[in-house]
């Protein structure tokens, strides 16, 4: 077993554990913390896949900004301090279905023949190549993405702001 393999299994185990925590944790804030674990573990997976840039972005944006936002949301929507049921009534069916789905995907994955898999070789992508591709070949989608972000921002503000007084009369 090579070092890379060891690292992979450790990281994968962390990611799965984090995921389990997200969906099973009894407390919402714990779930958020487990999410951070999972996200960081995924960043580790990116590094194993020779995409350091992605790993960085993952940690900065996901594990940082997004999670903070989620924690804010939790804080803002807290109704009471009383412990309440975190899991809905359909969890047995959902568990079965999710297991089936995962099993099906894994079965498909393992029985399929994937290209480039023979030697376990991967190719490192230089930062500058990625950057130039993003701003040349993918310039238009990139701009659109910025627009999406902008619209989302405006939309969030519109949705979240307080109602005008005259609208309350409904």
């Amino acid at each position: 077993m090579t070092v890379a393999q060891v690292i992979f299994y450790v990281v994968a185990a962390l990611a799965v554990a984090g995921g389990l925590g997200v969906v099973l944790a009894k407390h919402a804030v714990y779930a958020a913390l487990f999410l951070i674990v999972a996200l960081i573990a995924v960043a580790g997976v990116y590094i194993l896949l020779a995409s350091e840039f992605l790993a960085l972005v993952q940690i900065l944006i996901y594990a940082g900004a997004v999670t903070v936002l989620l924690l804010f949301a939790l804080m803002l929507t807290r109704t009471s301090d009383l412990p309440e049921a975190m899991t809905g009534a359909q969890w047995p069916v959902a568990g079965l279905v999710a297991a089936l789905l995962g099993g099906a995907i894994i079965a498909t994955v393992t029985t399929s023949d994937w290209p480039g898999d023979e030697d376990g070789m991967i190719t490192r992508v230089p930062f500058d190549d990625l950057g130039s591709a993003l701003f040349q070949q993918w310039a238009v989608p990139f701009e659109i993405a910025s627009l999406v972000l902008f619209v989302a921002l405006v939309g969030a503000i519109v949705l979240a702001r307080e109602d005008e007084p005259e609208e309350e009369g409904e």
Binding site: G88, Q90, V93, A94, V97, A98, L100, L101, A104, I105, A107, T108
Partner: protein, 632 residues
């Protein structure tokens, strides 16, 4: 005027009908002169055609079968050709003469009788249409035109019976007449189509020829003949279809004279005469006619005896006469039937017109409110008496010759002869009864008696003319009379359908029947004039029998019940079934099923997002599994 021009005959009154219908209200005198003029012209043309016919007869001898002329009406190439055409032979000539003459008399009579009627113009329009249809009926060379005209005379009869349409009874009677005859017509139409199917033609002569050549299957022929006879029974008011004719007296009296005595009701007799060869090909065919005729004759005589409405008595006497004609046809004596038809037209029209004169004068038609009219209305009285005695069969009057002719023809069939003889005194008795109760004795309602008076010349001139004919028409049976009138071989050539010397005279029968007639008349005189208490005594002794007769053997009630209880119940059942089973259950059921399915399905719309999400995922999983399975 040639025989082949006979197709013009119906067109004249038809044109008068169209003109009266469209322009009637704007014509002077509402256009009655048009109608009378048309029929008068037709009468003259009929005489010309008859002359042409006798010439042809003289030229060709006994082989002469008649002249025909037809035109195409409708064609499906190679499949079907319907033609309208006329055929003139001896029978036709007799019928044409009767129809045009009686129609002329009745139309003239109506000038006086219908004067002041609120629908005077319409009356003349329909009468014209009737004459046109009736002429077409007797001229028809094929079953199609015959059926066409057959139905048209039916509808004219319907319209005229219902002439006084503000009366519920008139409306009901009209309906009854139409529906009853229509039931017979179902048979007629089926018979016509069956014969067409077997022979490929509607032409009457060709159909008969084909049947005689054995081209028509036995069962088909039997069925057609029976069905054909159904049509004749309906039109000619034979038992058990006779119920409509007495009710038809709701119409104006001239209409009764024309349609329900002289012309339309004998259409059945005419039809059977025309197709008699077909009946004779079928085993039991003539016997069927004979049985129906005898039954009708006897039953109608008994019912005529107890009726109190003067017109209904005459109506039953008409059924009686029609029955006799069928009896003659049943024993294979069409000549006798035609002679009776010919003379019957005159004396029966005379009776009705006479009754009409009484009704016109007194506005009563129940014999129990009439009486003693002879002093007020001598002409009517005498002419009516001539008609009644002729109907009874008193010697030398027209009815006597014709009736004896039929009795002679019956000599071979003892039972039938006995039954026919039995009706002779009955007939005489009820004719005496109606004559006595109407014109003799004391007036039962003095005030209406006071006002009674002879009508206008329009009314009594036709009466006199018909009375004269009633006295003398019977003599045409003798060749000598015909030759005197200028017909070679006698008028019998025409009447007797190409059997010129078929007139038999049997002194024994004549004396026997005359004796019975006299006995009947005497009994009538005894019961209703000499000893007025007798009917009451008889009535009390024979109450059930009287009730049976007076209620027309309960046939009307049975029919009414059959329609109200059975037919309408079935109809309501079907309508109920249609509404509840077919519609509400079947058709709406489909809708309700969809609706209920929707009701059930809506509960999967929980509104809870996780449920929807679960559904989606299950779908994805299922699809994945399917894809996975297919991939192998």
């Amino acid at each position: 005027m040639n025989m082949t021009d006979a197709w013009l005959l119906p067109l004249l009154p038809a044109a008068a009908f169209v003109a009266l219908t469209l322009l009637g209200p704007w014509l002077p005198r509402k256009g009655d002169w048009l109608a009378v003029g048309a029929i008068a012209t037709v009468f003259v043309m009929v005489l010309l055609i008859a002359a042409d016919f006798t010439d042809a007869l003289a030229a060709h001898g006994e082989e002469f079968a008649g002249a025909a002329n037809s035109t195409q009406w409708l064609e499906v190439p190679g499949q079907l050709e319907l033609r309208l055409g006329v055929h003139v032979d001896a029978t036709t000539i007799v019928m044409l003469t009767v129809v045009s003459f009686v129609a002329l008399m009745v139309q003239v009579y109506s000038l006086g009788y219908m004067k002041g009627d609120s629908r005077y113009g319409w009356y003349y329009a329909v009468i014209s249409l009737f004459v046109a249809s009736m002429l077409a009926l007797v001229l028809a060379d094929n079953f199609l035109l015959l059926y066409f005209a057959w139905e048209l005379v039916g509808v004219c009869s319907y319209l005229l019976i219902g002439h006084y349409n503000h009366l519920r009874s008139a409306a009901e009677a009209a309906k009854k007449a139409f529906i009853t005859t229509r039931l017979g017509d179902v048979g007629l139409l089926i018979a016509i189509i069956l014969l067409w199917r077997a022979t490929g033609t509607f032409n009457i002569q060709e159909v008969i020829a084909a049947a005689e050549a054995g081209e028509v299957g036995r069962e088909v022929l039997t069925a057609s003949v029976v069905l054909l006879f159904l049509g004749a029974m309906g039109k000619s008011a034979q038992f058990p279809f006779h119920v409509w004719l007495p009710d038809a007296m709701e119409g104006p009296t001239p209409v009764s004279a024309l349609i329900h005595a002289a012309t339309m009701v004998v259409a059945g007799v005419y039809l059977v005469t025309r197709t008699l060869p077909l009946f004779q090909l079928v085993h039991g065919g003539p016997e069927l006619i004979l049985a129906v005729g005898l039954l009708t004759t006897f039953m109608s005589a008994t019912m005529g005896l107890v009726m109190t409405d003067i017109k209904k008595v005459i109506a039953y006497s008409t059924i009686n006469s029609l029955g006799l004609m069928f009896v003659a046809l049943g024993v294979g004596a069409p000549a006798a039937a035609m002679l009776y038809l010919f003379t019957h037209a005159f004396f029966k029209a005379l009776l009705f017109l006479g009754a009409g004169s009484v009704i016109h004068a007194t506005e009563r038609q129940d014999v129990s409110s009439l009486g003693g009219l002879w002093s007020k209305m001598p002409i009517t009285c005498v002419t009516f008496a001539v008609g009644a005695l002729s109907m009874a069969g008193l010697p030398i009057l027209a009815g006597f010759w014709a009736k004896d002719e039929i009795l002679v023809a019956l000599l071979d069939n003892k039972a039938a002869f006995a039954l026919a003889m039995a009706t002779v005194p009955l007939t005489a008795m009820y004719m005496a009864r109606v004559l006595i109760l109407t014109f003799f004795g004391d007036p039962k309602e003095p005030e209406s008696h006071e006002h009674a008076h002879e009508g206008s010349p329009f009314i009594f001139v036709p009466l006199v003319l018909l009375a004269v004919l009633t006295v003398f028409a019977g003599f045409v049976a003798f060749d000598q009379v015909g030759e005197l009138m200028g017909f070679p071989g006698g008028i019998g050539e025409i009447i007797f359908l190409g059997h010129p010397h078929a007139f038999h005279f049997d002194w024994n029968v004549a004396i026997g029947s005359s004796a019975l007639v006299l006995a009947g008349l005497a009994a009538g005189w005894f019961a209703w004039a000499a000893r007025p208490s007798v009917p009451g005594v008889c009535l009390s002794m024979l109450r059930p029998v009287h009730a049976l007769f007076a209620n027309k053997y309960y046939l009307d009630d049975i029919y009414q019940a059959a329609i109200d209880r059975v037919v309408l119940s079935i109809a309501r059942l079907v309508a109920w079934f249609d509404r509840n089973a077919v519609n509400d259950t079947g058709i709406d059921g489909g809708g309700y099923t969809a609706k209920f399915a929707g009701y059930l399905m809506k509960f999967q719309q929980t509104g809870k997002m996780p449920n929807y999400a679960l559904g989606m995922v299950i779908g994805v999983v299922a699809l994945t599994l399917v894809a996975f399975t297919l991939k192998g």
